[in-house]
């Protein structure tokens, strides 16, 4: 089932009654989610990603725009008629019901021609439980389960009615680091097996990048960029997206383009053909540095952190907008740790220029 969002907008009235200020939570969101894909909605808190999810589920009505499931306009449909499964951040399992009763609950609400016999319902519940591998725990109460198990129950409850769209709100945020890795693989597997179009919300870029077919980066209710995770990472459209994706984060400098050459401080560090003379922000990915004693960029060396496969060089520069510049280089490189400075050559495709006013990407001809 493809999901189409057309000019989707949500405006909340101001909390403060005296001011007429309104909060635009989602502004003119257009996106066609292809059938059977896993989509990550990504952004810092307050960017409107959860609101978007709730609008797709039908729990919140949009202030403007349309939502289509396939060719059917579901904008005015109430949640129960949309056929969506929703997994909440805190799972929202009914604490007084067993796992089995929790999973059966949505099926018991089906009426009319959708109504099922008790045997059918049980079979469906066990199918869903098996899919998320909790069929051994059916008689337990939620309080007797670990966080990861509760998460699986919540997913089973969402899947049991065979929804057209599966929605997950920060599915991993309540799990510890190890479970998180495991569970995100699990979500990926379940999504592949069921082929249900799935949208999940997260503020953790690593999480979104690792399992999504596509990611949507949002900021203050406005979609910044949509694309496959690697494409977005390699070609950020603006400084916000560049900064939001990647660990360690991108290093940002103030720079200047003079005569198609990029300058940081007094040094000309890179050729930038086709770019007019102007002041710019320069983003350099940590993996964009090549250790070279004759390299054009000189940084003040702070420390060297050995991480096994790689070495992380921490340095500083007066024109850097980050307090510590991190460069990741191969561990085979020999670094003189006592030196005050360190010189780098730059990989051109890991260096991005941004307009100083608009923070939009400046395209370099190659």
């Amino acid at each position: 089932m493809k999901v189409v969002l057309e000019n989707l907008t949500k405006i909340f009235p101001s909390r403060n009654k005296k001011s007429d200020e309104q909060v635009v939570a989602v502004n003119n969101f257009n996106f066609e989610i292809p059938d059977g894909k896993l989509i990550g909605l990504l952004g810092p808190s307050g960017c409107g990603k959860s609101t978007t999810l709730y609008m797709i589920s039908g729990l919140q009505a949009p202030s403007g725009g349309k939502i289509l499931f396939g060719d059917e306009d579901v904008t005015d449909l109430s949640p129960e008629h949309r056929g969506v499964g929703l997994v909440f951040q805190n799972y929202a399992l009914y604490p007084h019901m067993t796992v089995k009763q929790n999973i059966l609950f949505p099926l018991e609400n089906l009426k009319g021609e959708d109504a099922m016999s008790k045997a059918e319902r049980l079979e469906r519940a066990y199918q869903a439980a098996k899919l998320v591998q909790i069929d051994e725990l059916m008689e337990r109460k939620p309080s007797e389960l670990s966080g990861g198990q509760q998460q699986r129950v919540a997913i089973a409850r969402a899947l049991v009615k065979m929804p057209r769209v599966l929605l997950l709100d920060e599915p991993l945020s309540n799990l510890d680091a190890r479970l998180r890795l495991q569970t995100r693989e699990e979500i990926r597997r379940i999504q592949r097996e069921t082929k249900i179009t799935t949208v999940f919300v997260t503020h953790d870029q690593e999480e979104a990048m690792s399992i999504s077919d596509m990611i949507v980066v949002m900021k203050l209710g406005v979609v910044q960029q949509i694309g496959a995770p690697q494409d977005v990472y390699d070609n950020p459209v603006n400084l916000f997206v560049a900064k939001f994706l990647g660990t360690p984060p991108i290093n940002v400098f103030e720079g200047k383009v003079v005569g198609e050459k990029l300058h940081i401080g007094a040094q000309a560090v890179l050729d930038v053909p086709g770019v007019a003379d102007q002041e710019v922000f320069v983003g350099i990915r940590p993996e964009g540095f090549i250790l070279d004693s004759n390299g054009p960029l000189t940084l003040n060396l702070n420390s060297v952190e050995v991480m096994g496969r790689d070495v992380s060089v921490v340095s500083w520069h007066t024109d850097a907008l980050v307090p510590a510049i991190r460069s990741i280089i191969d561990a085979d490189n020999k670094i003189d740790r006592d030196s005050e400075t360190i010189n780098f050559k730059l990989k051109p495709h890991k260096v991005f220029l941004f307009n100083k006013e608009t923070e939009e990407r400046i395209v370099v001809e190659r």
Partner: protein, 312 residues
């Protein structure tokens, strides 16, 4: 959160509560204030459509009523004695209970027991404990029971006292009421204060212990200030309850509100209001408003005092 398309549903769910509250809570507030200011109000004439002139007549007649000062005095007296006594006792018991492990639950249950009683019924038990059988003329003097309380005093060499029987004095009556009211008021106060004590962070006490603070100092400088909001609550509800004292007196003395031969010796504000409801609703309303005003003032004073003494 949810865009409820059926806002009328909320009002449907609320309607039984709201209708009943309008009839039996909101209307009475308006009407009672009206009644209090109507001169010579009479319900039969009112039903016949008669309009009454407004004035302070009801208030004047309440204030000029012979027994008014005495019943106000009794009400205030009972409050002023029982509230501090029961609060201090309850605080002591709660602190002691909080410091023990063995028998803790058992003792808690015992101390709560007086709460689940019928105050009229247990009032009759207290009456029996203070009652003297044998002051009836012609009764065989070998068959005199002075009452268990007098028997207890006898152990200490105190002569029997006429607490509640015919001819008993005002102060003797008050003493009996104080004993009964304190006994009755303890469970609630212990429960509230113990609950508050248990929610106090144990680290304060550990810190005090490390600093070598004495028990008494810990009690006055840590326990009492930390409990002060709950102590205030208990004192205020105690005063409100005290100003409405009525059924405990009925329990011991009966509807006459006094010992035989001297009915009304222990009349209280609420007793007066109830006695007036059938006869003169205007006067009853005026008395109720005076009572409300007194309770309001006392509560405000309590809040003010406790604000000064609340240390955080």
């Amino acid at each position: 959160m949810v865009n409820s398309k059926h806002k009328w549903k909320a009002w449907l769910y609320l309607s039984p509560a709201i209708i009943l509250l309008l009839i039996f809570t909101v209307w009475p507030i308006i009407n009672t204030v009206q009644l209090a200011f109507m001169e010579n109000y009479d319900i039969m004439q009112a039903l016949g459509g008669k309009k009454f002139t407004l004035g302070f007549g009801n208030f004047v007649s309440v204030l000029q009523y012979d027994g008014f000062l005495q019943m106000l005095g009794t009400t205030v007296l009972l409050c002023v004695i029982t509230v501090p006594v029961s609060t201090m006792l309850a605080l002591l018991i709660a602190v002691c209970l909080n410091s023990i492990k063995f028998l803790n639950r058992f003792l808690q249950t015992i101390f709560f027991l007086p709460y689940v009683t019928n105050s009229i019924a247990i009032g009759m038990v207290f009456a029996a404990m203070f009652n003297i059988i044998g002051n009836v003329p012609g009764l065989d003097s070998s068959l005199v029971s002075w009452g268990i309380f007098n028997d207890l005093l006898g152990v200490f060499g105190i002569k029997p006292i006429n607490w509640i029987n015919m001819g008993s004095g005002y102060w003797e009556n008050i003493f009996v009421m104080v004993v009964y009211i304190v006994w009755n008021a303890l469970p609630f106060k212990i429960l509230i204060l113990l609950g508050a004590l248990q929610s106090v962070n144990k680290q304060y006490y550990d810190a005090a212990k490390v600093d070598g603070t004495s028990r008494a100092r810990t009690f006055w400088r840590i326990t009492v200030p930390l409990l002060s909001p709950m102590i205030t609550y208990v004192v205020i509800t105690g005063f409100i309850g005290g100003f409405k004292e009525y059924s405990s007196i009925v329990g011991i003395f009966g509807d006459t509100m006094g010992p035989p031969g001297n009915p009304g010796q222990l009349q209280t504000m609420v007793g007066f209001i109830y006695d007036s409801i059938k006869k003169n609703q205007g006067k009853a309303s005026a008395a109720a408003i005076i009572l409300f005003a007194i309770i309001l003032v006392v509560t405000l004073i309590n809040l003010k005092v406790s604000k000064k003494n609340t240390h955080y």
